[in-house]
């Protein structure tokens, strides 16, 4: 081994110590039998001869800060004593593991780095106990998880996956379309010029809707009028930062719409769709709460008709020639992505509207 003095193995000396260096650079001495309980440290001492002096302190993996180290050493200090009964060890473990979740996660990670399997098991069990029986919102809150799945993806995977893969693709396209429409609507929402066209389209839309569904007539009217007014007010306040940001994008929005190969159906409805967005907003918020299978029923009829037509289109094309159509659809999506990036490289809003092909 190395030629430095090795107090750790000289018999008859005072209690031997091992030097450890934590992530912040500071070093400390630890009793040998305590530190050697840790397989990773043990390895360093025996295989590499480290830890015998301050200069040769064993540098611990980077997540091991002094606080974590002291926790780990407490654990080791208790458990390395051979005479303890199982009951004692168990009750120590139960008390030891009581800490806030953040520290518990850190502890698990650190214990794994140091290869302390019993401690990893103990903390995994504690984490599992925290997770068990809680609903998703609670779990997300405890662990600070981002809620970044779309509603479609939140459908229990177990339900979707038994379907035909074509239907699965249709569902994904459905979801993509909805997302796009939503984003497009939101964009147009903040555009000033849109106002006039919107007004006109309300009546158009109403008559269209009335033709479809008598019941909703009154409701929709009042709602859309309210929303229009609200939108106008918001703009005047210019509280929406997006207004200033996206003003320059309006024309791009139009270009975007017209150039999209699959959005043929949208062109002459572009004005209307902005109002459709009102209903859509309602129905979207509805949808988020409602149960999974009812999603498609809640979409307002106009949008549904648009989507239905698209889907029929897709279905027809899919049935004709599967692999080629797959390619076509995917490449169409990619083209659109390319187009969008050329139109406007910046702006988070735009990026949200991009179909996320990887995210399947």
């Amino acid at each position: 081994m190395s030629e430095v003095d090795m107090p750790v193995i000289k018999p008859g000396m005072m209690k031997p110590y091992i030097w450890l260096q934590t992530s912040d650079g500071s070093t400390q001495q630890v009793e040998q039998e305590v530190a050697m309980f840790c397989p990773a440290i043990c390895y360093e001492v025996i295989q590499n001869g480290m830890g015998s002096s301050k200069n040769y302190a064993i540098s611990l993996p980077k997540r091991v800060n002094p606080a974590m180290l002291s926790l780990i050493l407490d654990y080791c200090r208790f458990h390395q004593v051979p005479g303890r009964s199982n009951k004692e060890r168990k009750s120590f473990d139960e008390k030891f593991i009581r800490m806030d979740t953040k520290r518990l996660c850190e502890l698990t990670s650190v214990a794994d780095n140091l290869q302390l399997k019993p401690l990893v098991d103990l903390s995994s069990r504690a984490l599992a106990r925290i997770i068990e029986g809680k609903n998703p919102e609670e779990i997300r809150e405890i662990f600070h998880l981002p809620d970044d799945l779309t509603e479609e993806e939140k459908l229990e995977p177990l339900r979707n996956m038994t379907d035909d893969p074509r239907i699965r693709l249709l569902n994904r396209l459905y979801a993509k379309k909805r997302k796009e429409l939503k984003e497009r609507e939101r964009l147009k929402n903040v555009q000033v010029e849109e106002e006039h066209i919107d007004e006109r389209s309300v009546d158009d839309l109403l008559s269209f809707i009335n033709g479809k569904n008598e019941d909703l007539k009154g409701v929709k009217t009042s709602k859309s009028k309210k929303k229009n007014r609200r939108r106008r007010d918001e703009e005047k306040n210019s509280s929406l930062n997006e207004a200033s940001e996206t003003n320059g994008k309006e024309s791009n929005g139009y270009d975007f719409v017209s150039q999209s190969p699959e959005a043929d159906g949208f062109q002459h409805r572009s004005g209307e769709t902005s109002n459709v967005q009102d209903m859509e907003d309602d129905s979207f918020s509805h949808r988020v709460e409602c149960d999974d299978g009812d999603i498609y029923d809640e979409i307002d009829p106009a949008l549904k008709e648009i989507i239905d037509r698209e889907v029929e289109d897709f279905a027809r094309r899919l049935n004709s020639d599967w692999p080629e159509r797959m390619q076509e659809i995917l490449s169409a999506g990619q083209e659109r992505m390319a187009m969008q990036s050329t139109i406007n490289g910046t702006g988070s809003l735009r990026q949200h509207a991009c179909p996320d092909l990887e995210h399947k």
Binding site: C105, R140, L145, P146, L149
Partner: protein, 421 residues
């Protein structure tokens, strides 16, 4: 999205830890984690341990509906799963024999299955498909209410360490073949077999658990056996068979287990051992045997008493002894040999390590009392002897106590605890 101020605490932990956490959750909870965030969507799909029970599905009174949803759930989980599956366990009485199970086993056989446990409920027994015998990596197999019929080309599970068959229909020679063709077998448990004459050749066997109507138990090659528990039930055929048997059962059963540390016998085990020639001449010693538990020993049958005596005197390191008497056997018409216990004076043998003795179901017959006297007089380090009389003989309790008090104790530390309920 992102209204939480803190950074994600958990999603970036190494996969081994995530798996460690997820396997400690009931499987339904683990799968539900997939809707938490994009990183968690597929974390569960690589779990190598899948354990299912009736908590996976909503329970209703309609057993068929529960079964259907259970089958659906498990099939879909398997379909979505990625990667190897090392442990697969379905342990619920709702499970019934159906083709889905065949497909699961086929899927598992292609995915490196190592531990497989299937419990079926009451109903038709499940005939195990041939693909099970192709699971080369199987280390643990547990089957409940199944039928095993391996093909003739089956050469055994080369990696199997633990085999547990409970109410499994399998031909006797087949089961023997399976046992001896699994060279690594360490733990064997067979329960509720009918009229099985079992010959066990398993050089690595350490744990043996047998329960059922066994005609014969011959541990031909089990040198490493450490823990053994046998519960033998009796039928008329077996009783007849016992009468006609000429071989020495004690030697057949306990002749080749020098490493034995724990022996536990129930119901007719001691009777089984008593049949055959007197093993008194054979110098068997169980140096590691520390715990003996023999239940339903009939103290009216001299042969059984001799078996017990032989056993405990051949175990110099015995620490704990549990004997329970049997008041149900037809009383022997022989006059009990009262001199027997006098002859066995304390100088004959000493139980130098015996610390704990528990005697239950005592009816106070002569030989029981003699036995207790013998133990008390020969156990210098005895700490506790607890005696529980049989519930049917309330009147005799006082007599037992009176006699008990007179017995000499070799150990000054010995406590006699008389438990009367």
């Amino acid at each position: 999205m992102g209204d939480f101020s803190g950074a994600d605490l958990i999603s970036d932990l190494p996969q081994s830890i995530i798996e460690s956490i997820l396997t400690r959750l009931p499987i339904r909870d683990a799968i539900r984690m997939s809707i938490l965030s994009s990183k968690w969507r597929y974390k569960w799909t690589t779990l190598t341990q899948l354990v299912f029970d009736e908590k996976c599905v909503t329970l209703t009174n309609d057993g068929a509906a529960v079964l259907k949803s259970l089958l659906n759930f498990i099939t879909r989980v398997l379909f979505l799963h990625q990667g190897p599956i090392h442990k697969f366990q379905v342990w619920t009485s709702y499970l019934q024999s159906c083709p889905d199970i065949d497909q699961w086993i086929l899927f598992l056989s292609r995915n490196d299955i190592k531990e497989l446990a299937l419990e079926l409920g009451e109903g038709e027994w499940f005939r195990v498909p041939s693909c099970l015998y192709k699971c080369k990596k199987l280390t643990r197999l547990e089957l409940f209410r199944c039928e095993l019929e391996p093909p003739l080309t089956f050469k055994g599970f080369v990696s199997l360490k633990s085999l547990n068959l409970h109410q499994v229909l399998v031909a006797p020679d087949v089961i023997e073949n399976i046992i001896c063709s699994c060279p690594l077998l360490e733990s064997l448990s067979l329960s509720y077999f009918d009229s099985l004459a079992l010959n066990i050749r398993a050089p690595n066997l350490k744990y043996l658990y047998l329960e059922g109507e066994f005609k014969d138990i011959w541990l031909e090659d089990t040198p490493l056996l450490v823990d053994m528990s046998v519960a033998m039930y009796m039928t008329d055929d077996i009783a007849e068979h016992f009468e006609q048997s000429s071989s020495c059962n004690f030697v057949k059963c306990l002749g080749g287990v020098p490493q034995l540390e724990r022996l536990s016998g129930h119901i007719y085990f001691s009777k089984y051992l008593s049949i055959g020639n007197d093993p008194g001449i054979l110098p068997l010693t169980y140096n590691h045997l520390k715990t003996i538990e023999l239940n339903q020993v009939s103290f009216e049958d001299m042969k059984e008493i001799l078996v017990v005596l032989y056993l405990i005197t051949s175990s110099p390191n015995l620490v704990e002894l549990q004997i329970s008497g049997s008041s149900n056997t037809p009383a022997a018409t022989d006059v009990p040999d009262l001199e027997f216990w006098e002859k066995k004076g304390p100088s004959d043998c000493l139980f130098k390590r015996l610390k704990v003795v528990k005697i239950t179901d005592m009816s106070g017959v002569t030989h029981e009392m003699g036995f207790m006297k013998f133990l008390l007089g020969s156990s210098p380090v005895l700490e506790v002897m607890s005696i529980t009389p049989c519930v049917y003989v309330l009147e005799a309790q006082l007599n037992i106590l009176i006699e008990l008090v007179r017995f000499r104790r070799a150990s000054s530390q010995a406590e006699i605890v008389f438990c009367s309920d």
